[in-house]
């Protein structure tokens, strides 16, 4: 899963501190799915800033990356758009696609239906390739090979069924999804034992 792009997507919504990003990312995944350490986010922010994809919001005091608000640059938005336009190609890894979908819903950079369609096309291309191979090979292939091919086919079918399920619920998801903690007032945050920056 791409913490980099998650950070870009969340910063597109609005400028955020590192600790806000951590809380927002956790809530994007429903609180349990993505286990991302706060330190990982701060390191990501630094690397993104080095590559010019984010920058510190002008006119803020410097401090640790937990406290400094970052914002997206034009180059960052370009990178984010290109990520949205690509299907997820990490085999049957579903997390990154789900992250992409949630960020599409919350950031407004990309229509979530188009993210879904891009992924669906990619899965159907995989399935087309597998079926072509299967149709050509099945007569002479050893049983072990046929069964392995069948397994690959079934994986793609399962992912397609899951996409179909999501498509039917996408509007509801968009209604339910919030990635806050609600925006904190500007300025020095108050000491608060409940705040998620206590790591």
């Amino acid at each position: 899963m791409s913490v980099r792009h998650a950070v870009l997507g969340l910063l597109h919504q609005r400028a955020r501190h590192g600790y806000e990003l951590h809380a927002a990312l956790t809530s994007l995944g429903g609180g349990e799915v993505w286990d991302v350490k706060a330190a990982q986010i701060y390191a990501t922010l630094d690397r993104l800033a080095e590559s010019g994809l984010v920058r510190e919001q002008p006119g803020t005091q410097s401090g640790g990356p937990q406290r400094r608000p970052f914002e997206l640059t034009d180059a960052g938005l370009t990178e984010l758009r290109s990520w949205f336009s690509m299907p997820v190609k990490t085999g049957y890894q579903r997390d990154e696609f789900f992250l992409k979908l949630m960020l599409a819903i919350t950031s407004g950079v990309q229509d979530p239906y188009s993210v879904l369609r891009t992924q669906r096309t990619s899965l159907y291309r995989d399935l087309h390739e597998l079926m072509t191979h299967r149709q050509e090979a099945s007569a002479r292939a050893a049983l072990a090979q046929q069964l392995q091919l069948e397994q690959a086919v079934m994986h793609v079918e399962a992912d397609l069924r899951w996409l179909e399920l999501i498509e039917g619920r996408l509007d509801d998801m968009a209604k339910q999804t919030t990635v806050e903690p609600a925006p904190k007032p500007r300025g020095r945050p108050r000491k608060n034992p409940q705040s998620p920056d206590g790591e």
Binding site: P87, K89, T90, Y124, L130, Q135, Q145, R161
Partner: protein
């Protein structure tokens, strides 16, 4: 080269007091040799589209051009001839005549069109053999499996040498093995015989055997993609295939 071009098709059905808009402006071009699958939720207009492309029904608005003929301007007789001679239909329920043998069923579109029985059955036999039913020509439909019956129905659809084959859920009543066989058969029709094939299906594997995939939703096309862009195949699937070959 474009074989059939549908432009801005609209079709509304009266449903009691209300009207159901089955197609709300669909444009689609099929090229010679295309093999296209149409998918989409139940009720989204797939069968309606197929009926309009095949001249089984007329649109409220929009046009269908097959070769140089504008189907929407033909009279009923003209449309009947187009259906009979230039388009083959295959449906989910095989629609074979139960008291006729396989070869008589396949020959039927020709005999109905005035071709002599011996010539018609000669052509029917060729298609039955091509589809692997050479040893079943004299069987009655109820002596054949579902997959075999559907192959007879496909032979019947092809015996007039149509330029376009339209199939509505052709594997909907078949077990998965027979469904695979039918999918492979439709693909070979397009690969080896340059037929243009459009099929409606719910089944992802059947759809994925096509080279182009069109998605309908609420009476409009929401996606239309080429599937054989093999560069796009994910590295995981590619390496699996390499490992197996």
């Amino acid at each position: 080269m474009a074989l059939i071009t549908a432009t801005q098709l609209v079709k509304t059905y009266a449903e009691g007091a209300t009207a159901v808009r089955a197609l709300a402006g669909v444009s689609l071009t099929l090229n010679e040799g295309d093999f296209v699958a149409v998918m989409g939720p139940s009720g989204c207009g797939k069968s309606t589209l197929l009926h309009l492309l095949g001249g089984l029904d007329r649109p409220d608005a929009g046009t269908v051009k097959l070769g140089s003929d504008e189907l929407t301007t033909l009279d009923d007789e003209g449309l009947t001839l187009v259906r009979r001679r230039r388009i083959g239909f295959v449906f989910q329920s095989f629609n074979l005549v139960p008291v006729m043998s396989a070869i008589e069923n396949v020959a039927l579109p020709l005999t109905l069109d005035g071709v002599s029985a011996s010539v018609a059955e000669g052509k029917a036999k060729v298609w039955l053999e091509r589809l692997g039913l050479g040893d079943r020509v004299n069987h009655l439909p109820d002596q054949l499996s579902g997959g075999q019956q559907q192959r007879v129905a496909i032979a019947r659809a092809l015996v007039t040498e149509p330029v376009l084959l339209l199939a509505d859920e052709p594997t909907g009543n078949l077990d998965s093995k027979s469904a695979d066989d039918i999918a492979r058969l439709l693909r070979s029709l397009s690969d080896e015989h340059r037929r243009t094939v459009l099929m409606v299906t719910h089944d992802p594997r059947i759809a994925a055997s096509a080279r182009r995939l069109v998605f309908l939703k609420d009476g409009v096309i929401v996606d239309d993609q080429n599937l054989s862009a093999s560069l796009d195949t994910s590295s995981k699937v590619r390496s699996q295939l390499e490992a197996l070959s």
